[in-house]
């Protein structure tokens, strides 16, 4: 029987998601028992209640998933209700709006706790791996390298020197797909960095980094890619 390595990262993520799911269920149960109050519209007083999901939630007890999402700029432990209308209650209609809401949700996971976010915007549960990964603290270089090719939920393999641009510039495939050019990073950071590479930049004389790097060497492309990982808090400074 061939030797197989155990995927600790995937198992850890599954365990965290299971814990999260259980916590949300327990919170719903606890709030239902305490006759939690709901924000109601004037027109639908009769139909509102703790069993429906169509209004922002008020609750007065702390909710926590502290081990996964430590508090940031928040006085006291993570938890408590989110400010009203900070996240859409229903899943937005376009993928762009979904992405925007998931980015808005990431610091809220850290500040208020995952359960509070999911109670306010239940649709985010199906995107939890993306948001959990996006909230990662900066990692060591070895951490980013060792997970390449693992296909972890919420993560992508990312090319330091951009893949398509390097191919257009004629760099060989063995360099582009080489071990020195790949790191495993949160998928939402991957998207953010892809966007950053095509946005105009005053320091580059109003060129985008992609334009700026067009005629640069392989080493310069990789060095730039490395610096961007630090800017976005993926790689430790």
């Amino acid at each position: 029987m061939p030797f197989q390595t155990f995927d600790f990262e995937r198992a850890d993520l599954r365990a965290r998601l299971a814990a999260l799911s259980l916590e949300v269920k327990l919170l719903r149960f606890a709030h239902a028992r305490r006759r939690a109050r709901w924000d109601v519209k004037d027109s639908d007083h009769d139909t509102e209640g703790p069993d429906d999901d169509d209004g922002p939630f008020h609750h007065d007890g702390p909710t926590q998933l502290a081990q996964n999402f430590p508090p940031r700029d928040h006085n006291g432990p993570p938890g408590g209700p989110l400010p009203e209308e900070i996240l859409p209650l229903e899943k937005p209609p376009s993928s762009q709006k979904v992405t925007g809401a998931l980015r808005d949700a990431t610091p809220l996971f850290q500040e208020f706790g995952a359960a509070s976010v999911l109670l306010a915007a239940p649709w985010i549960a199906s995107y939890a791996p993306l948001v959990i990964a996006n909230a990662d603290a900066p990692k060591d270089w070895e951490d980013l390298k060792s997970n390449v090719g693992m296909g972890r939920l919420g993560y992508d393999d990312h090319h330091l020197a951009e893949e398509a641009a390097a191919r257009r510039a004629g760099f060989p495939e063995e360099l582009i797909q080489g071990n020195d050019n790949l790191v495993s990073i949160p998928r939402m950071k991957h998207w953010a960095i892809n966007g950053y590479m095509s946005r105009v930049d005053p320091e580059l004389n109003d060129m985008s980094p992609r334009e700026f790097l067009k005629d640069k060497s392989w080493e310069e492309r990789q060095a730039f890619g490395l610096s961007v990982l630090k800017l976005f808090g993926v790689l430790k400074p």
Binding site: R103, A192, N205
Partner: protein
């Protein structure tokens, strides 16, 4: 909006336009809308240039945006006031570079800090 239209706006109107464009650029960042981001970038640049060209360099009118609730608006106000209020603007950029609730504001602030230290940020 054309340059001539921008030049016809009063100070308060221009500040309001700057704020609303910076908020739209924040949304473009969050939603990954690069064409919108780039378009707004050049409009914000026009407004910065317009304030600079007015009598006595009026970019200080943007200083109250340094305490805006949206991190990206604080960042855009800061890079547009670096020349006229370097201490206040640099303070905001340094703070954002350490931490904020917006990953783009923090990333760009870090890049600006690096560029200022290297002397490659285009100050004018």
């Amino acid at each position: 909006m054309t340059v001539s239209k921008i030049s016809s706006l009063g100070t308060d109107e221009l500040v309001a336009l700057f704020e609303s464009l910076a908020l739209r650029q924040h949304t473009a960042n969050q939603e990954g809308d690069t064409p919108a981001y780039n378009k707004i970038y050049f409009r914000l640049k026009e407004i910065g240039d317009e304030f600079r060209s007015r009598s006595g360099d009026q970019r200080r009118v943007l200083l109250h945006l340094l305490s805006h609730k949206t991190a990206w608006v604080r960042y855009m106000a800061a890079i547009n006031t670096l020349v006229v209020a370097p201490v206040e603007a640099r303070g905001v950029i340094n703070e954002l570079a350490v931490k904020s609730n917006n990953e783009f504001a923090t990333a760009y602030a870090r890049r600006t800090v690096n560029a200022l230290e290297r002397g490659t940020f285009p100050l004018k």
